[in-house]
């Protein structure tokens, strides 16, 4: 009898399969695209193009502590140590094509969406230029108004249509609208299960150890449009729900004392270290801004809805939206504190952080700290500074708890 697998086992299998299939696709002569993490992959799958995600790959290289050599290679080529470290890792990998952390095949197409930053335009422009391959750019204007306005939606919808034409030219095949509809449906379902799973952390104690969001993130990025992905996130949801209903917290050996949110990307090379410091003080990172990032929900065959959903990513929204978003998270998840990662790689996330921190503190009264780090450059993080900040946060959270207890 086949044993029932946990979502964690499936997660690893799925990731391995994802990379193995990419090589098989390449061998078969199928086209492979390198894509940004929140891009309309539905179009690629419908076109029979295999999608790979350099951000995922760079994060994995970082987590396996193999990023520094690639970073140094990129810097040797002239890339400044001040630019995004995912970009440095990937632009080096593009040439080296070998990492002990795992490999991905070279792309035939670049698929870029600037709803996460404008940096990806420059990064992907360079790949396209160096490899002499086509690039499709989805330009999603920064939403300086609170809502995503109709003008932006119209522009993005037109770009989706232009991309379909481009894909037809690139593949030499008619675009498969039926397949497109199916992928849209699956992607939506996967997004919903991803969000629903993460919402289980609202329970007290949270059945979710939030660092798992970082572990599962790679899969929501690469398997959003697949049945296996959808089933994985449903299973993860069911496991968390069951655990939550039994009143079980994140850890077997320890109680959840404080509930915090992590703002920003993980420090991949120090994932274990950053986690252990929090656990040492009974701090559970119950959520982050990630759950909403891949909650890309729109009706099947609704290109306008699709345009709006992809443009709605929180980093592409204005500061008032960012403040409301975190405030809501604080209330929904009954948080005690917030940890802001001032990520040397991500100016787009960083340069609003101070004002967001002040405004969220004003609204919610909960304490927070900012620490300096980087998503994949191990040189830009100090564990000692991180721990000192966490200690300070714990002291503030404890003081507040005592005041509440009167």
């Amino acid at each position: 009898m086949e044993s029932i697998k946990t979502s964690k086992q499936l997660l690893n299998e799925l990731l391995e399969k994802h990379y193995a299939e990419a090589f098989l696709a390449k061998e078969r002569g199928d086209l492979v695209a390198w894509c940004t993490s929140i891009s309309p992959q539905e179009l690629l799958t419908a076109s029979g193009i295999y999608a790979l995600y350099p951000e995922n790959h760079a994060a994995a290289i970082g987590a396996r502590k193999k990023s520094e050599e690639l970073i140094q290679y990129a810097e040797g080529k002239g890339y400044s140590s001040d630019i995004c470290s995912y970009a440095r890792v990937n632009l080096a990998y593009m040439e080296v094509l070998d990492s002990e952390a795992g490999n991905i095949p070279k792309p035939d197409l670049i698929f870029c969406c600037n709803n996460i930053c404008n940096t990806v335009i420059k990064w992907y422009e360079n790949i396209a230029k160096e490899l002499g391959i086509p690039m499709i750019l989805f330009d999603m204007p920064f939403n300086h108004e609170y809502e995503v306005n109709g003008q932006n939606v119209k522009y993005i919808k037109r770009q989706l249509l232009e991309a379909i034409e481009n894909l037809e030219t690139i593949t030499g095949k008619k675009f498969d609208y039926d397949r497109f509809g199916e992928v849209m449906k699956i992607s939506r379902e996967t997004s919903v299960w991803w969000k629903e799973a993460s919402l289980q952390a609202r329970r007290k104690p949270s059945p979710l150890n939030g660092f798992d969001l970082f572990n599962y993130m790679a899969t929501i990025v690469c398997a959003r449009g697949t049945i296996e992905g959808r089933d994985l996130f449903k299973l993860w949801h069911d496991e968390l729900k069951e655990k939550g209903e039994k009143g079980l917290g994140p850890w077997k050996d320890q109680e959840e004392k404080y509930r915090v949110m992590w703002d920003g990307i993980a420090c991949w090379p120090y994932l274990g270290d950053t986690y252990k410091v929090l656990k040492k003080y009974g701090v559970n990172m119950v959520t982050s801004t990630y759950p909403d990032s891949w909650y890309i929900v729109y009706d099947e065959n609704d290109l306008e809805g699709m345009a709006r959903a992809y443009s709605s990513n929180y980093v592409n929204r204005n500061l008032d939206f960012g403040v409301d978003n975190i405030t809501k998270i604080v209330l929904d998840f009954e948080l005690d504190g917030i940890i802001y990662h001032s990520n040397r790689s991500c100016k787009f996330m960083d340069f609003r952080q101070f004002e967001v921190q002040r405004k969220v503190a004003e609204r919610t009264g909960i304490p927070s700290v900012i620490f300096d780090g980087d998503q994949t450059d191990p040189r830009a993080f100090s564990l000692a500074q991180y721990e000192t900040r966490v200690q300070a946060l714990v002291e503030m959270m404890e003081k507040r708890k005592q005041e509440d207890r009167g």
Partner: protein
């Protein structure tokens, strides 16, 4: 003092004293001022609304008020602008057009809404898919929105023919500047690196019509003059965001360089592309942006900047290219490795200088520029 010296002195003084110059321009013209963030702004619309577009490209600030909003690894131009906004230096402007060409600009706009609520901010998004019909249509709508906001803030109504006239004026200015920067090369002593920069910079603080008049007058005189000898000077092309602080350019003058052309966002990229002469005003403005290539801030799948620099090198018979890298300017930083390879493959000497707009010491740069000069000799 001859007329050329007189005009140059006047323009240099304007460029060196932005605040005073802006006050004078606004007072003399009786018009309102509208600030324009880097890299590009719809100046033609502002001008047609009977206001003066004012360039906002940082400055020599010293304070640390901006630290409240921006981390240390933010570009010095945006830190300087934020510092000046917090000091209420921009309160003389009726509105500020803020742009989103890079991630830092987007964040700075959001911070300003919170930090300087007294300023009237008009955001504008230039499309990155600017050549595709989706991008052109988007930009036309964006221009209409910005026009509407300008009309509301400036309490005026901007008629189409006024915008057409304004575009005509701007295209005349752009063409004149194209001739002017070429003409300067015949006068390497008069137009040393510092003067060349300041004369171009002055346009950011003046009524374009008045500026154009002075440029045309200068051109008229220079075209009838015998050229100055440039013997012994090493000809360079400057590329990058901008060439400030001014002391940096003194180093080029001290070391016998002649700036024969530039590919700076702050200078030639502003005027090297004129738009079509026909069509409605929205199309004319959108097409101009669509045509502009070789700029780090505008999506360019072919990445033609290197090819453009090579063409410039050939045309101006330059000895070398100098890339002036504003520290923490991501878009420019991403272009460098590609440019480096392209220039190296054609054996074009390249000097890479990393700068900040406010620098305590330029000694390191002095050494590098000296050595580069010796290497070229």
């Amino acid at each position: 003092m001859d007329r050329v010296s007189e005009l140059l002195q006047e323009l240099k003084t304007i460029a060196r004293n932005p605040r005073k110059s802006i006050e004078t321009t606004l007072k003399n013209s009786g018009k309102k001022g509208v600030g324009c963030f880097p890299v590009y702004a719809p100046e033609e619309l502002i001008y047609a609304a009977d206001a003066i577009p004012i360039g906002m490209w940082g400055g020599p600030t010293k304070g640390n008020l901006s630290d409240r909003y921006l981390q240390t690894f933010c570009c010095s131009v945006m830190k300087a602008n934020t510092e000046q906004a917090l000091l209420k230096q921009y309160d003389l402007l009726s509105a500020v057009i803020m742009t989103t060409f890079c991630d830092t600009l987007k964040c700075v706009m959001e911070n300003w809404k919170a930090a300087s609520p007294q300023l009237k901010i008009i955001p504008i998004v230039y499309p990155q898919n600017r050549k595709a019909s989706s991008g052109i249509e988007f930009f036309k709508e964006e221009l209409m929105r910005v026009k509407g906001e300008l009309e509301e803030i400036l309490k005026c109504s901007v008629e189409d023919h006024r915008i057409q006239e304004s575009i005509d004026l701007y295209d005349r200015y752009r063409r004149a500047m194209g001739r002017f920067v070429k003409e300067m090369n015949n006068f390497p002593i008069t137009f040393d690196a510092v003067t060349r920069h300041l004369v171009i910079k002055a346009s950011y603080f003046m009524d374009k019509k008045d500026y154009l008049q002075k440029v045309e007058e200068l051109l008229g005189i220079l075209q009838n003059r015998s050229p100055e000898s440039s013997s012994g000077k090493k000809k360079v092309i400057l590329s990058g965001l901008m060439s400030e602080p001014e002391e940096l350019l003194h180093l080029f003058d001290e070391n016998g360089f002649q700036v024969v052309a530039d590919d700076l966002a702050h200078e030639s990229r502003q005027f090297r592309e004129s738009g079509p002469e026909e069509g409605d005003w929205q199309t004319r403005m959108a097409q101009r942006v669509a045509q502009q290539d070789g700029c780090a801030f505008l999506y360019d799948q072919e990445k033609t900047r290197g090819a453009g620099l090579l063409r410039m090198k050939e045309y101006y018979k330059a000895d070398a290219v100098v890339l002036i890298q504003m520290k923490f300017c991501d878009p420019e930083e991403f272009d460098y490795p590609i440019l480096k390879e392209e220039l190296a493959s054609e054996r074009v000497p390249l000097l890479y200088l990393e700068i900040e707009q406010q620098m305590d010491s330029l000694e390191q740069l002095r050494t590098r520029i000296q050595s580069f000069s010796e290497m070229l000799a």
